[in-house]
Amino acid sequence: MVVLKEEETLSLAEAAVNFAVKKGADEAEVFIYQGLTTAVAIERGQIAKSSRIIDQGLGVRAIVNSAAGFAYTNVLGDKGAIEETALKALKSAKASKPDNEWKGLPPKKPFQHVKNTFDKSVLKLSADDLVKIASTMLEAAEKTDKRVFPIEGGVGASYLSRAVANSNGVLGFDSGTVIECSLATIAREKGEVTPVCFEFNVERSYKVDPEWVGKEAARLAVSALKAKRIETKNMKVVLAHFALQQLLYYTLMNAVKADYVQRNQSAFQGKIGEKVASETVTIYDDGLLDGGLHTWKFDGEGVPQQKTLIIDKGVLRGFIYDNYTARKEGKESTGNASRAGYLSTPNVEPTNFHFIPGKKSPEELIGEIDEGLLVYSLQGAHSSNPASGEFSVVASPSWKIENGEIAHAARGVMLAGNVFQVIKNVSALANNERKIGPLVAPWILVENVKVIGK
């Protein structure tokens, strides 16, 4: 396996920084990313595909006269190629215009300790082990019900590492592991096809339960059969994890980014200290969350990650910053500079966007609803108005709740509204917190959502 060790990675990064400075950069920063993924894929009911992907590269950010230039390469074995990359970054910086708001790369600060982000046993998994995990999941789904067809899914184990160095003396290396298994299913009966139903586990440590994923993906698909149309009216809606993540990703998560706030693109601009959500809602951006999918010692520009209060019992308390947006306001970065591997400059992104869960079990939450809708997934959340938060999406799969119980699957249902109104109308959160992409949250109950049916 082509894995660069910590010492090699750090010395490569430092050398490139020094070279850029020697060649005329006022400041320079190098980010090195490595990813190794072994995966097996399920397609149409069988495991017929397997892959191993090695991706590594280095990106250089050079500052000349308050203008930034960036270049990257995935040719790491060749000193010449790395130097050429540094020179390109310099050239790009010189081609750009000076930015009056540029106040320098981040200073050196001690990194934080993180827990449960690396697990050797994930690295030890062979292709055969992954095939075993995948077939456990597949068999569990198939055993559950004959009407279920597992359309796709898989198991993947990854090793990821990141290193950063800059001309202010920042120097860091961190590595971690991720394992995931997922299964998408449909159920078919008498000409009816259900929407795609999806279940998954993703963890930093080897703690996945493929049998549960398989069973649950199958159970969902079967329960999505015999779907009926429902009346158009305002009602209570329970957003399950995936639906909540889809809805918030393009709206609320953008609204708390300092970059959006400073550029007049956020509905939260000027609202710090104001009530923006229901009292049941408390959100942290927690870059240090135990075992979090986005937990690292430092962010994409070498700033220590931290836990930042965003909304406290409904009151807006803070935004997330990278170094550039923080300095613009005379503040400190919150460690939210994110990188797309070695291919990009830093961008403000949430780490683990954590909704503090409530006390009720999902059953209790449903049990208190006379009439409502349970929504597992949304279609078209990416077409929400990212600035205003207005959305109009298909809820699929979804289930009608009547008298405290799931009555039947619903089809052709749309939800319309505004995300910023939705968070004001949250009346309860369940206790079933899960990690999904950047979101860590339980099911949430929202009052008075416009549901468009028949």
Partner: protein
């Protein structure tokens, strides 16, 4: 505009780069080793050298001008009916051989649980060299010029109206060469050339925030900015953001609608196209038992065409070495074709259609659309609108998504009311949804105009595509109103 010209290799020796010659030998060795040493029944390798330039402008500030090099190879083998895949960022023979050994081991691990071995439709062998022939090669345009073009867009947008509050402009150009070889005698060197830009603006008045987006995409060359000039595109984006400030929100419910080419495109792509990707058809999409059957009204004819010159979804050979073609999917309302790779073509006893595409060397080819569109007929725009007492004109989309059960959703960024046969006031944040097959049956008039729009499609990987068609009228769609 001529973009992809194919010349036999020996006619044009000046285009050989030294690493190209060595590379061909290396690829041949790897493919031979796959079949002879590791017992692969099929082996292919894709070696790519890609150069990218990217810019992000936030208002008039260039966030960072970015340039990058990506070298890498993708190896795919079929061993006893199961796929193995490996990707590495180098062309070094030793590393490639070790990646090949990985890929074969991976395939053997996978086939331990195989129920139905994978077979490939017969492929023809091609030897070809496909050169990009841009009038303006993006790699010859200086970074200063690219900054000037995008800055001019930003200037146009920000000076359009004081209520425009921000704009973000992303620019990407990608040039490079793809070397494809398989063990059946195909060897293709094919240039890649893409120029793309996404331009967004927000406007604000009182508590109303609006958002507008346009995309530019071409495989022709940097000359795309001669037609889509910064001034034209900038004004279009800014105007839409401003117009929406005074727009009303739509009523929810079922309405008659006229869809513009841009919305027809995303509907054809999302609502129908994905269901006709043979891998998704086999996965149980609602088209599974509809082949040869009528699913749409008589006036609906749909194509997926990889051969439209300069279009964002065009190429000469796909990533399995199969020539791109114009594929008829629906003829006069009847499903007559699906989009195939070699694996699904074998399952359906059909010919591969050249739809196997991989975003880059990090991923394997999967079935993707190219340029997908509805064929125009004979209605003028006025004729489409004149009989509608009340309905909506959906002109431009924000995003769309489909499900295998045939439910689609398309979010709309520009819409108008139609009142008494005329286009009326603007409407904001509408979306339409419905069941694809029901909606295709409700298409009751098809216009005579035609337009393709570039876009990007996500299916695990990103593919550059176009979609479009004429204006059409639909008897009924579900309009999701705002709360």
């Amino acid at each position: 505009m001529i973009i992809l010209i194919s010349l036999p290799a020996e006619i044009n020796p000046s285009n050989f780069v030294p690493w190209g010659i060595n590379l061909k030998d290396i690829l041949a060795k790897v493919v031979d080793t796959a079949t002879q040493k590791f017992g692969a029944e099929y082996a292919e390798i894709r070696a790519q050298k890609l150069f990218k330039t990217m810019l992000t402008l936030k208002e008039e500030r260039v966030e960072a001008a970015k340039e990058g090099i990506e070298n890498g190879a993708a190896l795919r083998v079929l061993v006893d009916g199961a796929w193995g895949f490996a990707s590495v960022g180098t062309f070094n023979l030793e590393t490639l051989t070790s990646a090949l050994s990985d890929a074969c081991k991976m395939a053997k691990a996978a086939n331990s649980k195989l129920k139905t071995p994978i077979k490939l439709a017969k492929g023809k062998a091609f030897e070809d060299k496909v050169l990009a022939k841009p009038r303006k090669n993006p790699s010859q345009i200086s970074i200063e010029d690219k900054i000037a073009t995008t800055s001019a867009m930003a200037k146009t947008i920000l000076s359009y109206d004081r209520r425009v509050k921000s704009c973000t402009i992303d620019y990407l150009d990608l040039v490079g060469t793809n070397h494809f070889m398989n063990n059946e005698g195909t060897y293709i060197e094919q240039d890649k050339l893409y120029v793309w830009s996404r331009i967004t603006a927000t406007a604000k008045e009182a508590e109303i925030l609006t958002f507008s987006r346009e995309e530019i995409g071409s495989t022709a060359g940097y000359e795309v900015f001669d037609i889509e000039t910064p001034e034209i595109v900038g004004a279009k984006v800014a105007e839409r953001a401003i117009d929406q400030l005074k727009a009303k929100t739509p009523k929810g419910g079922k309405f008659k609608a006229v869809l513009g080419p841009n919305v027809v495109g995303v509907f054809v792509h999302e609502a129908f196209g994905h269901l006709a990707e043979a891998d998704l058809t086999l996965s149980g999409s609602v088209l599974m038992d509809k082949f040869g059957k009528k699913i749409a009204s008589d006036i609906v004819t749909l194509y997926d065409d990889g051969t439209v010159e300069g279009a964002f979804g065009s190429f000469k050979y796909d990533d399995e070495g199969v020539p791109a073609q114009k594929t008829l999917l629906v003829k006069d309302g009847v499903v007559v074709g699906l989009m195939h790779n070699r694996e699904t073509a074998s399952k359906f006893n059909a010919q591969p259609t050249g739809n196997a595409r991989a975003e880059d060397f990090r991923v394997e080819p999967i079935i993707r659309m190219r340029n997908t569109f509805m064929e125009p007929k004979d209605y003028s725009f006025e004729e489409l609108v004149e009989d509608i007492k009340f309905g909506y004109y959906f002109k431009s989309f924000r995003g769309g998504q489909a499900n295998l059960d045939g439910t689609f959703q398309v979010g709309i960024q520009e819409a108008y009311e139609i009142v008494k046969g005329e286009v009326g006031e603007p409407v904001r944040n509408a979306s339409i949804s419905g069941n694809t097959l029901e909606t295709l049956r409700k298409v009751d008039a098809v216009g005579k105009d035609f337009e393709l729009s570039p876009g990007r499609c996500g299916k695990g990987q990103t593919a550059f595509v176009c979609d479009g068609g004429p204006h059409i009228r639909v008897k009924e769609v579900i309009v999701g109103g705002s709360a």
